[in-house]
Structure formats: C-alpha cells, structure tokens
Symmetry: C2
Subunit: 447 residues, 2 copies
C-alpha cells in the first residue's frame, strides 16, 4: 500500500525535458522523462518513486486476479542452485541468457530466469495425494535474463519483474481446466488495466509442452508481427463466465475460435481464408504467456502423487507468466499523446493532481488542503505539487505524468469561486466551486 | 494486500511433525514446522504462502513508518555494476561476502549487499539545490551476502530481504535531524510488532561514519552479548514526541542517556558504574542498524548540491537498515511456547482461525461461512481449516501456527449453541453463541 497523498516537495521525481538519445521507443522515452525509471547499468533499472508506485499497482491487479482463481502466493528466491536445472536437463539449454554465478565455495548458482524446477521441488516435498490437487501456486519476483542487446527500456531489460504461476493436477483433463482458469484470469487482468489483449497460439520454446498461448496487445511499436481476425478488437475480457469447468472450456473455445497468431506460428493460408476486411496484420507486444507441458518436469524431478487407486503418478503441470515490469511499458505504448502519458483511470498512479500556483498564499494552501482531504476521504490518491515553481512548469510536468484529473488552486480561482478541473485525456475543463470538485470526481469514477 | 479469507484446501501449508536436524534455533525449527519457509539451497529460502504473508505484513509496518517521516519509496535493482563500487573504494573491502558475477560480455557485476553507492548516484542525477533537501529515500529489496557459514534459518541467510533508507542533507546539523527521524521511526516500527527494541551504540564497520546505533531485542538465543541499563526494559517506543527538530533531539538524547552497548562497544567501567540491580547482561538480536557517515560517499561519487550562497557542497548522508526477513525469526524467538508460535495480535498472519471439525455436515458448513463472513466484514483475516482431517491434527496444527484466536465449529457446538473461542496465548476458552463470536473479537481488538 503506497501513501494516498504525496507532496512533491518530499517526493523524488526528477523529470527530464528531453529524453536521452538511447531511448528509441516512446514508452522508454516517457518513463525516463517522467522520472519513473533510471538506468543503473545496461538493461537494469532503478524504479524511482513514481515508477515504483505504478509497478506496485500493476502487481496488485495481477495478484488479485490470481487470488480470484484460488492460486496461493509464495515467493521463491532469485538465486537458485544449478543442480536442479541439471536434473531437468535445462541447465545447458538456456545458453548465455542465463546468468551463471559461482559462490565463495565455487558452487554453481544462477539467477532464476523462470522457476519450473524449483516450484516442482517445493510441490514434491509438500503434496502427496490426488486429494490435495488442483494446486495453483504463484509468485511475483525479479528475474534475470542476460539479453545480448538489452533495449526498449523495461520492455526488454535484463533484470525484470514477473509473475509466474504453476498448476499441478492429477491428469491431463484437470490440468487443461487449470490452464483455462489462467487463460481467463489473464483476459480479466489485462482488461482491468485498460488493455485489449488477444490470446494467440504460440511456440513453447524453452519452457516446453504442446499447448501455449501468448497474450498480445496491438501496438505499432510492438516487437513482433501479429495476425488476427478483426473480431478480437471488439471483445470484452471482463465479460467471461468462468463459474464451472464447462463454462471455462466454452469460454476458451470461444476466445480461440477465430484466427490469431504470432509470426512464428502464422499460417498464411488460414489467414487468407478470413474475409479481407476482417484481416488484421499489425505489430504486437507480448504481455503474458501460458503453457501446458504435462509431465515434462514432474518426470525428471520425480514429482508424483498418489491417484485414487493408490498408485503414484507424475503430476501434470502448466506455467503462466505475466511480465509485470514490461506491462508498464506496454500500457504507455498503448496510452500516450504528444504531451506525455495518459494513464487509464483504473490504473493511474494517482487519480487526482492538485496544483497550487501560489504556495506562499495562506488561503490557497487552505483550499488545497481542503480539496485533498475530501479527495482522500473519498478514496482518491492525490499528487500535490507544493513546490515553489512557475505555474507553466507545473502544468507541463503534470501533463507529462498523465494523471487522469487535475485541479488548479490559485488566488483567482478562490476569488471567483471557480476552480478548473481538467481531464487529462480529453483536455476538457470543468469550472467548479470548491465543494463541488470531489463530488464531481466521485461521479466520474462511479463512486 | 493478501486475501482476507484463506481456505486451507486451496492453500499450500506443508507442516512438519519434526523439525529437520539442521535447524538449531527455535525460530528456524518453528518456521520449517509451520510450513513458512523451505530451504532452496544453503542460506537461501523459498517463502511458502504463510511465511510470505508474514513477510508482507512486516514489510508493510516498516513501510508505513518510513512513509510517516516523509521518506519516499523507490526500488533499486538487485544486480549492480562493479564500477560504482570501485569509485567508492568498497569493491575490495567487502571481500568474499560480496557475490561477484560476470555477465556474458565479461563485465563485472555484483548482487547488492547494500546500496550507498547506487542511491548516491540516483540522488546526484536528480537533486541540485539545498531547497530540495532533506530528501529521505528508501527501498525494500532482496540483498545477498555470501556468508561463509549461513545458519539460523532466515536470521543469517545469504539472500535476505532488507529495508534500506538513505538521507541527504545540506549539512551535519540537518543530517543529524534526519538520523533522529529514523531513530524514532525504528522505535515505533519495532514496538508495533510487539518487540521491545533497545538502541545500542555500535561499530560502523563496512558502511563507515562515526555515529551509529544498532536496534537490539533481547533473546537468550541472540547472536551477540549485550549490556544495558534495566530502564530500557520499561520504555514505550510508541510514546515518543517527534513533532519538531528539538523534540526529536530530546527524544534521542533521552533514549541514549542510559548505558546500552553491544559486545564490540562494551565499556566495562561504565557498565560497572550502574547499580548492580539495574545491570542487564544478556544476549540480543540485531534487527536494525543506522549510520551517519557525512560525506564518505558524496565526496568520491561527487554528489554535490548548491548551498544558499550558490557554492556546491558535498551532501551529508546517513543510511538506515531493517532486516525484514530476519525480523520474522526475531519475532518468533521472542514469541513462542512449547506448542508453537504465538504471534502478537497486531502482526499475526490471520487474527482468527476457524476449525470446522465436520466439513461434510451442511449445518456446520453454513455456521462456518456465517462466522467467516462476519469476521471478514469486521476487518479480520481468517484462516479456515476446511480439510477433511482428524480434529486432533487440526487443533495441533493451528496451535503450531500461532493464530491469536481460534473458533471451533462442530455438531455439538451447534446443538448447544455454544462455540469454543480460544485465545492462543493464554489458552483461555470462552463459550459463546454464534452471533456473539465476532462482536466478542471486535472487543478484544478494540474495534
């Protein structure tokens, strides 16, 4: 839980007038300019207070949707022993992307790029019977992939924040239901962030298995070419019935019926069969990836449970990833204009920015405090620019930061009893009396 | 924010009847037995759901008290470049405790054991003027120290979770006020966790500087010998006035007036001067450590700000650490009995455990749901044992977990309209009607 009222004088928000030349894409430029991140070394970032706050917001939405499907949160360490990875046979597969480490005793360690091995070991030690599954476990932890050429800011960094979940089931049928639960949870997660995500059939790569979907948002600046049916542009990820096994299966069938594939899995013939007006060929950003891989890890790592007959069988597994830090970049790619970021109201760092243009003035300060108090009481988070700065600088910075609503307190507003309340997205201004501001905002947010 | 109602059937709580032999101290034994942690490799732990939940609870108390003194939260990465550490001269000082890494391009990296260098660089890039200080910044992040002999579970692990804060001021006088703010914040933080912490003059070690206090809790199993005046056993860390600079200075003077020192700084003569009845010589656990080190880092790293005359001066700094993961062990060392953990009510993973001894019974299930709903609505967190298990097993496990209050639902309780409500700490049982349970708990928690 981050503070609900932040005063810029105490905050650390080093905005930049110009983005550094190395920032090639708009989200990277805006995150640097808005003082959200700062590069520590190649592909490794410090998250300054505003960026950190957004990271926590996104994390919390991801968490709530995992909890909603009955997944339990735990936390695995960043540093793992190489032995487990040798057991699964993946120690060599990862090549140079895996950050390999030797400790003071010359033991081989690594910075986890993912956690199939470790979670399988944890499960194995704790669960023995079919009665204890399905078991859905997840964690949200820093990962490291030693990209040869880190770029695009947090979109393709080396140290990155990821939610990875794992499902454990008695057989393939039950495991596919777990897969469907996460599939639907992902539709909801991204929809809550104002993103239209499209599940696309995908390669399974280093994770393995034979069933996999990537969740893609469309963006001109996306890293890969994607192809889909226009129907996906009109679907609502929140309107999915997931109350029963059958409902989940039907929902996933419905969401995978029309054509949608990344470049790697693209079937030109199938795509050409779509009416031309419905063909969408554009670029996309991957924000989630889910896998069903059966017993790929449970066999070598000997994770078995007793079935109803008492026989030990290897557990059926899937894994489910969301790039939490990457999502920040993805949201900004999807939501910005020439002035800066335009956060969706549901996932903004603050809902309200208050600019006091004359902080030395007692009446202005009192009015500001009154508005902030009311807003906080109504559950809004408020960023207050209480710095002794030119009004023009304050306005431009707030637009860069992209907070959905802005109120300006000035001697003139006080004298005329008319305060400017501006919507960031449209730029439309309301003139309201002091006591009408927070009730107006409540209405906008449906509170 | 963790879920407010957890059903054991969906949770992952692999309790153990016996603690593994390698666990030497009671907190390590109990954390393993209660299914809170599991060793991943030497000195590196996975935090299972119950342990993770407590870690987040402790983190949130630490966070709130940092926010309260106006510190802004950010997040620095775990992996740092070695170059910065060469600039400060500490790259070699740390010796083998520092986990050194080479990336695929053979660049020297390290897993941060602390962050003075990186935060100084972040500050330098963002703050230019005396008008922008004091600036208090903190983060809560995983650290790594490659202990030669990791032991005592999370008390002396290799990968550990720590809050480290940094203060930046224009001069020594202002910097000492920042020091005092953190000093008082620590008294409050630990008091909120039910711990009596004693600030003791301490060595500055690898951090450096000339003013330093460790915050110690007394425990027979503590790692070091400590000596203090008995007055510290009766002080209230919450009852400290920190409203002004003068009040803070007076409070710190008051809290450092009587004798209190760790072994390293022990002054036998001064200690002997205390009346014998007031001499306390025992063992202690370090849970926090604060440092004022002036310009030790700002000079080599060239972190300067303009003073009122326009001249650039090196900024005065301090740093302030709390071992978040270690605190879990410390609390358990301080709060346990022969049956298991006894969480302080203010910082328990759940306030209420509900045991349904006959989960197949419709009336029992309905009564259970009603109690849980009421408890949730009143703001309590509830752990529900809905497993089909023997009652004896359920009782013993709940006592091991140490949840402050327990309610038992059974056919007999329903028939007699009398439910057993048991306080974990005292074992005292109340017999209450179904509708009286939650109002009774509200009273106990002063709600």
């Amino acid at each position: 839980m981050q503070p609900k009222l932040v005063r810029l004088s105490q905050y650390f928000l080093p905005t930049l007038r110009e983005a550094p030349a190395e920032a090639q894409i708009v989200s990277h430029q805006l995150m640097l300019r808005a003082g959200m991140i700062r590069q520590a070394s190649a592909g490794i970032y410090s998250w300054l207070p505003l960026g950190f706050r957004m990271l926590k917001k996104i994390e919390q939405v991801v968490r709530e949707e995992q909890d909603r499907i009955g997944a339990a949160e735990l936390l695995m360490p960043t540093i793992q022993s190489a032995d487990l990875w040798r057991q699964s046979g993946r120690y060599d597969d990862y090549g140079k992307e895996m950050l390999r480490i030797k400790d003071r005793h010359e033991r081989d360690l690594l910075y986890g790029p993912t956690n199939e091995e470790l979670i399988t070991e944890i499960f194995r030690a704790g669960v023995k019977s079919y009665r204890d599954v399905p078991k859905l476990l997840y964690h949200i932890q820093w990962k490291f992939r030693d990209e040869i050429r880190p770029r695009f800011g947090v979109m393709r960094g080396r140290e990155f924040y990821m939610k990875d979940a794992y499902s454990f089931d008695i057989n393939r049928k039950a495991a596919l239901d777990s897969y469907n639960k996460f599939f639907i949870a992902y539709l909801r997660t991204f929809a809550r962030m104002g993103l239209r995500s499209i599940p696309m059939r995908a390669e399974t790569g280093l994770i393995g298995g034979n069933n996999s979907h990537e969740f893609i948002i469309l963006a001109d600046t996306g890293e890969s070419q994607v192809f889909c049916h226009r129907s996906y542009l009109e679907r609502d990820g929140m309107a999915v019935d997931d109350s029963t096994l059958e409902a989940r299966a039907a929902a996933v069938r419905d969401w995978t019926r029309d054509y949608a594939a990344t470049e790697d899995e693209h079937d030109i013939e199938a795509f050409s069969a779509i009416p031309e007006d419905d063909q969408v060929a554009t670029r996309g950003i991957e924000i989630g990836h889910i896998f069903y891989f059966g017993t790929k890890y449970s066999v070598p790592l000997e994770a078995q449970i007793a079935d109803e007959s008492g026989a030990n069988v290897p557990v059926h597994m899937g894994s489910y990833g969301v790039g939490v830090s990457r999502l920040l970049g993805a949201i900004i790619e999807a939501r910005h204009d020439e002035k800066g970021i335009v956060w969706p109201a549901a996932i903004a760092p603050f809902q309200l920015a208050v600019i006091n243009v004359k902080v030395a003035d007692t009446a202005c300060r009192a009015a500001t405090e009154r508005i902030m108090q009311q807003a906080n009481n109504a559950g809004f988070e408020v960023l207050y620019d209480d710095r002794d700065q030119r009004a023009g600088v304050k306005f431009a910075e707030m637009e860069l930061l992209g907070i959905p609503w802005r109120v300006v307190v000035s001697p003139k507003a006080l004298a005329t009893e008319s305060f400017e309340v501006t919507k960031r997205r449209s730029g439309v201004i309301q003139n309201l009396g002091l006591e009408a501001i927070v009730p107006f905002l409540c209405k906008q947010f449906g509170r």
